[in-house]
């Protein structure tokens, strides 16, 4: 995880430096704000990694780890299918088209979302 943290911190440092240099060279507010928000966003991720993941010890990061090290009994079941993604896509499209075309399209989208909700409730039983 150290590499990942280095990645986010150095990116934040980089955008911070460029943003500061940009303000003093150009005094242009839009670009400065954008670079500033960028730096803040990267620092948020870095902060999470420092405080929440500091004790992470992945088998992946050990140079001499072997597959049996990480093996265990039932680790989990991989989901290979789900109706949710397609219906979320349909629903979101309906909502977005609603902004453009008519509220009726948004209505279709909302109905699709409700259908999806019902489907997921039924499936989880």
């Amino acid at each position: 995880m150290k590499t990942a943290l280095v990645l986010f911190i150095s990116s934040a440092l980089f955008t911070g430096i460029i943003g500061t240099a940009y303000w003093f060279v150009a005094h242009e507010p839009a670009g400065t704000m954008l670079l500033g928000f960028m730096t803040a966003a990267l620092l948020v991720v870095a902060a999470y990694m420092i405080f929440a993941e500091r004790d992470a010890d992945l088998y992946a990061d050990r140079k001499d780890a072997t597959m049996p090290d990480a093996a265990g009994e039932h680790v989990g079941t991989y989901v290979t299918h789900s109706p949710a993604p397609f219906w979320i896509g349909v629903a979101l499209t309906g909502v977005m088209l609603g902004f453009v075309v008519s509220p009726a399209a948004a209505g279709v989208g909302i109905l699709a979302l409700l259908f999806l909700g019902a489907l997921m409730i039924v499936r989880s039983r």
Binding site: M1, T3, A4, L7, S10, S11, F14, T15, I18, A21, Y22, V25, A26, E28, A30, G31, L34, L35, M38, A41, L42, L58, Y59, A60, D61, R62, K63, D64, A65, T66, M67, P68, D69, A70, A71, E73, T77, Y78, V79, T80, H81, S82, P83, A84, P85, F86, I88, G89, V90, L92, T93, M96, L97, F99, V100, V101
Partner: protein, 541 residues
């Protein structure tokens, strides 16, 4: 050492249409992405042939001005947002879990949702063509005030905005998936500095997507507010600023072009390494260069605004020049990978070398237009059109085909015909250069972009005719490509696990891989696990 339990397959793999619509398997989603982008590429390619046909002769009346404006808008929008970028995301979807030894992406359902949002968003953009005044026609950059409601009065522009907003959010979600998968779901022993270069490039690409796409989403939203919700953000008659639009758009727009190239740098690295029989030269330098390019690309956006007189040209010229350095590092590393190798010229390798030749010209002309005084002539002319087609077309698109020829046997278990592949390559390479090389001169001679016709004086008529001839050659190349797929599909020449003798993990499983990717993973002791198995005495890192 405890034995590993065999994965317990609870249900056989399904192949019906419903199983494709509800799939969350990264391999299927990758195939869906890539197939969809190839469809969009066919459409966008035909739009390009229409453009070139219209411009073959001065004063041609084949296509109306309004029709032409829709055509080039859709061509650019589709090629950038619906072909080059999502093909890379689809390829990465397929490859990244395999390359890091994971059974799937970190968030499989989010992955599938991204695909459907991309598909529906793309269709929405094109659906604008059926609206009252046709599709969006303000260019893929959609500058305000041209794209404001008072000037672009039709619904097509709104379809464009809404469709791209969906594609934008889908891309961000996919980037989250890639980064999480790469950080958390690597197999034991697969340290970050042992992951394949393609996966590293996808991490850099994902970082760029995080940093750039939110600006696009915000810009689209603001444009929509101006158009349909009574806003005046970009309307100067109420105190708004067209220059602000350009800042916001290009803050996204420039990193976007690096999103369009970094994955393909990864493809080229993998292909050249495998077919030279040598490891990628300077792996560490390549990774650092990728992040240098990504980082620097955040600070160059206003080089698209040099002619406005509204930005600090020297700042942006300086940072733009700097990007040439890590790009050069990559070129030298590729050459050194080939150096001393024993190069097998398959169709994939030909496309990779074609990439090097084309992208070099794109790159050096990029340094040219990074110089503001030069850009005063080149901006918004065919010089820039030539530059970006050499990088995105001659670069990314060539690598896209290299990727198809290289990984097709892994995905389907059978090969594409190599001889047809080579014919396809040469037609594409010659056609591409015949089309775009004249455009550098057309720009210097004063031909602006985005014009539906031009007058018959000077050198422009001949140069345009030559360019159109090249476009038809590329059309022929595309026909050969499709024929290759059809003919090879009938033959189904079995490929085996590792037809190209590659050394990364995707070649350590069957072709196609099982649903959970690996029955058994080899031990991972370096960036080339299969090489270590072949050469147990060699140095490990």
């Amino acid at each position: 050492m405890s034995a590993i339990a065999e994965p317990r397959v609870t249900a056989p793999e399904r192949h019906d249409i419903l199983s494709w619509i509800t799939t969350t398997d990264h391999k299927r989603i990758g195939v869906l992405y890539m197939a969809t982008t190839l469809m969009f590429m066919a459409v966008a390619g035909l739009l390009a042939v229409a453009i070139r046909t219209q411009l073959a002769r001065p004063g041609s009346e084949l296509i109306s001005p309004h029709g032409y404006n829709q055509i080039f808008t859709l061509h650019g929008t589709a090629m950038i947002f619906l072909v080059i970028a999502p093909f890379a995301l689809g390829l990465a979807n397929y490859l990244v879990p395999l390359q890091v030894g994971a059974p799937d992406m970190a968030f499989p359902r989010l992955n599938a949702t991204s695909y459907w949002m991309f598909l529906f968003g793309g269709l929405t953009v094109f659906a604008g063509a059926a609206s009252n005044e046709g599709a969006a026609s303000a260019g893929w950059t959609s500058y305000a005030p041209l794209s404001e409601i008072t000037i672009s009065t039709g619904l097509g522009q709104d379809f464009w905005i809404v469709g791209l907003a969906m594609v934008s959010v889908a891309s961000i979600m996919t980037a989250v998936n890639f980064v999480t998968t790469t950080f958390i779901h690597r197999a034991p022993g697969m340290t970050m500095w042992r992951i394949p270069i393609f996966t590293w490039e996808m991490v850099a690409t994902s970082l760029l997507i995080f940093m750039a796409f939110p600006s696009l989403t915000a810009t689209l939203l603001l444009l929509f507010v101006d158009r349909r919700l009574g806003g005046h953000v970009f309307d100067p008659s109420f105190g708004g600023s067209p220059i602000l639009y350009q800042h916001l758009f290009w803050f996204f727009g420039h990193p976007e072009v690096y999103v369009l190239i970094l994955p393909y740098f990864g493809v080229v690295s993998e292909v050249i390494s495998t077919f030279s029989g040598r490891p990628l030269f300077g792996y560490t330098g390549m990774v650092l260069a990728a992040f240098a390019i990504a980082g620097l690309s955040m600070g160059v956006w206003a080089h698209h605004m040099f002619t406005t007189g509204a930005v600090n040209n020297p700042f942006f010229a300086f940072v733009s020049f700097l990007i040439a350095v890590p790009t050069g590092i990559k070129f030298f590393n590729w050459i050194c990978t080939m150096w001393g190798g024993s190069i097998r010229y398959t169709a994939a390798m030909l496309y990779a070398v074609g990439f090097l030749m084309n992208f070099l010209l794109g790159g050096v002309t990029g340094v040219m237009v990074a110089s503001p005084p030069l850009d005063f002539q080149a901006q918004d002319s065919y010089f820039v059109v030539a530059h970006f087609h050499y990088t995105i077309g001659g670069g990314s698109m060539f690598a896209l085909f290299a990727a198809i020829y290289y990984w097709w046997p892994k995905i389907y278990g059978w090969r594409l015909d190599e001889r047809l592949g080579k014919i396809n390559f040469w037609l594409t390479f010659v056609g591409f250069n015949v089309t775009f090389l004249p455009m550098f001169f057309m720009g210097v001679f004063g031909m602006p972009r985005r014009i539906y016709t031009y007058s018959g004086e000077g050198a422009l008529p001949l140069l345009n005719l030559v360019a159109t001839a090249g476009a038809y050659l590329m059309l022929l190349a595309a026909v050969v490509f499709v024929a290759n797929i059809v003919i090879s599909a009938r033959r189904r020449d079995p490929a085996g696990d590792n037809p190209w003798h590659g050394y990364t993990l995707e070649w350590a499983t069957s072709s196609p891989p099982p649903e959970h990717n690996f029955h058994r993973l080899p031990p991972i002791r370096s960036a080339r696990p299969l090489f270590n198995i072949e050469h147990p005495e060699a140095d490990q890192s």
